[in-house]
Point group: C2
Chain length 457, copies 2
């Protein structure tokens, strides 16, 4: 846990942005797996962690914007609990760890909420939380969803988007755990091994660090399938293995790193050619990252590098500026360059992607590919974001576009057809926007062709 | 997945037990971690798995007890899904894998449920499922909880309690994964290692098997704290490490094994003395396990062995038959001998522990210790259960009983006080009740003092 002043300061900053009512932050409870008492690893709500810092189930926090007081709700353990669960800090002790003097038992919560003040809360995303809010506030589920506070969303996004030094340290520590995860995966990427064996071992590394993974691991020799959580394939020489995986700390800060590894340890010529294009997009857009730029423009810069690289290899043709404007590159690079990263791997996604990644200056595009860009807005010092260009040969998408004769002026389908067994390449780092430019967070994880091949020797 | 006749037969057997209405089995959906799209490992509902065998989110099954028809509800993937998720079997293909011809899209479900037939469903345990049922059936949460079907609960318990050959094979395969988890933990149990490092590695082994752990791992040098999921301690010579952990297969069958390991590789004299008592309770009650016996009596036999062993060492005194009847042994052995095991680690716990482990013949005791016994009823061939006696020195409980002068005629508190730094011992195997006796499932996991010390050499 950070020093209690961290949490007090954050609550003060929030208070300076909202003038009426109270902010109500229900913490998460245990999440049942296959019956009530058999639960998943506990995961606290990220905004509760941000303002109240306590990583236990059964807590709620209130920030009173009118009186300046903060409240923590939760129950002390009983004698029976101590017998079964061992000694636990008291609620008063927990409160003082995060700078809160007003500590009340859970049965006081409903009465407190019914004092008639305006209640600001963030959009709930778990069934248990919706049920809980519905009972506490005597509203239907639909009303619960409709009455979330836009003022609170905007103020929380504003605060959480700019990372403090202590937060950057946590993320960097988790990139270092990801270093171990990714180099271990590379060393295991030989023919005959199953994807699940590697993903199991590297998830074990995240767990051994004391937290968990920051999202379900993607580890696949079918990288062209973007949302692929199937780990049942046996690795075969000639395939590329995409590993998209990160760790999460006990304070819930995460890393999110992708590497692409040639099964067997050596890139073939055609793998190397595509890999170098993606690497160039990653390296050049990281170099260009600085405050004041629109991330949307960095995304388009990556698209431009990929399109030109593919033109050099004969996959694309014509004017690449026009091709990228029209969205033709999205056949190969159909997702965004990146997203914010912090207490959530897609930071604050539950607050609404458009509230986090876009604003009145930059609106989300509806063009295929660009529409999937999660972050388009102007960068500020303290933003932490991912940089993750990719290049894929997706048979179903190639077939569809070819049948539709889509972008025939920009795409050489004859050449593309020959790569339907290629798979995909993605390279992802976690980047801090500094006052003057940017910095890749954490210990550098092997990334060039030479570095990756060296690890696998 | 098992052969489709397995599922057809199970549904037929259920139909032979309930004559009116329909059985409605909502499958589980994804479980959000910190926002809607960042989800835990998917875990299907166990009764849905039992009757409908499909391990994907977004499905529901209906068994019509009146017409003899079965129905599967779910949506086919779209072209977009194929682009992002790769090829998926169609819903009709999924239906035929589990012997179902009537396959309908999800939007047909609500109309089907509103035909006026009596709807039997099992108690929901996830917030998402309660919300879903509430919307489908137009009932409040309280009504949803109140209107679960006792007929369906009893019929499902009757079927799932007696395991088929294919189920026993799955459980046995998962005990073999637990073999690797436990022997790995033993080999890592040396001073200076952190609990989380070991629990991370062995959870990785379960994941590498293609499934997950069957419950959150307990791995602790404070085994006297029974519900201990804290993994932050560094191992120290002189402590015992309790590891209670099992794996779950892709078909959701689990194992549940406990071993106790001396940090450093050698049991001290006093550790060995307590360990041998628990081992005797485990071995003797397994030997005695056979159809027709009440599991409650096997629990009491274990209690008797532990009490007599502790009397020999001077922790207890007087008549041990009286002591066990009165519940004095529960200071050291405060939990039950075991529970059923199958698709859930506490099998069918969501259907109500008393419906699963007790019946009209045997009712749950209210005595401290015995009250925690999850399974008391008469054993049948095909039952799979855990056998997990333990002996602990729980400082908070010792202090409480001593202050209350509880069972002073049976307990030598002066001697007990000297063991407040001991920790605890538990040994657990998974047992099949056969026609004539019982069988320990899976590859034998090192259990005697000599076997455990040998692995750690």
């Amino acid at each position: 846990m950070f020093n209690n002043s961290v949490y007090t300061n954050r609550r003060e900053k929030l208070r300076s942005r909202i003038k009426d009512g109270i902010g109500f932050f229900p913490g998460n409870n245990e999440s049942p797996m296959n019956y009530q008492a058999n639960t998943y690893h506990f995961r606290q709500d990220s905004s509760f962690m941000y303002f109240f810092g306590l990583n236990q189930p059964g807590l709620s926090g209130i920030i009173d914007f009118e009186t300046g007081e903060d409240y923590l709700f939760g129950n002390d353990v009983t004698m029976d609990d101590i017998i079964w669960m061992g000694d636990q800090p008291s609620m008063n002790e927990r409160g003082s760890m995060v700078g809160i003097k007003n500590v009340l038992s859970t049965d006081k919560l409903q009465g407190f909420l019914q004092k008639g003040k305006k209640i600001h809360y963030l959009p709930p995303y778990r069934g248990e939380t919706i049920l809980h809010l519905s009972q506490l506030l005597d509203l239907s589920y639909q009303e619960i969803k409709d009455q979330t506070s836009m003022d609170l969303i905007q103020a929380v996004v504003e605060l959480r988007s700019v990372k403090e030094e202590v937060e950057i340290g946590e993320i960097e520590r988790m990139v270092n755990v990801a270093y171990d995860m990714h180099t271990t995966a590379m060393k295991m990427a030989f023919e005959g091994t199953y994807e699940r064996e590697i993903s199991g071992v590297i998830e074990g590394i995240a767990l051994a660090g004391g937290g968990m993974t920051s999202f379900p691991i993607i580890l696949t020799i079918n990288g062209q399938i973007l949302h692929n959580h199937y780990h049942g394939n046996m690795l075969k020489e000639g395939r590329l293995m995409i590993t998209d995986a990160g760790a999460e700390s006990e304070l819930c800060y995460g890393s999110d790193i992708t590497r692409t590894t040639p099964v067997g340890g050596t890139f073939s010529q055609r793998q190397k050619e595509i890999y170098e294009i993606v690497l160039k997009a990653n390296v050049e857009t990281i170099k260009a990252t600085k405050p004041g730029l629109y991330y949307k423009n960095l995304h388009l810069k990556a698209a431009d590098i990929i399109a030109n690289g593919l033109k050099d290899l004969g996959f694309m043709k014509g004017n690449m500026e026009e091709a990228v404007n029209a969205g033709a590159h999205a056949l190969f690079f159909p997702h965004g360059l990146g997203h914010m990263l912090g207490l959530d791997v897609h930071d604050m996604e539950n607050l609404g992607e458009d509230h986090v990644g876009y604003d009145n200056e930059v609106r989300r595009s509806s063009q295929f590919g660009l529409a999937y860009l999660r972050l388009g807005r102007r960068l500020k010092p303290g933003n932490v974001l991912t940089n993750e260009p990719g290049c894929y040969f997706i048979p179903a998408l190639i077939d569809k576009w070819k049948a539709e004769k889509k972008f025939e002026e920009f795409i050489n389908y004859t050449k593309v057809e020959q790569y339907k067994d290629f798979g995909g390449v993605r390279i992802e780092d976690d980047i801090l926007v500094t006052e003057t430019g940017s910095r890749v967070l954490g210990k550098p994880i092997p990334k060039t062709v030479e570095e990756v091949e060296e690890v696998m020797k």
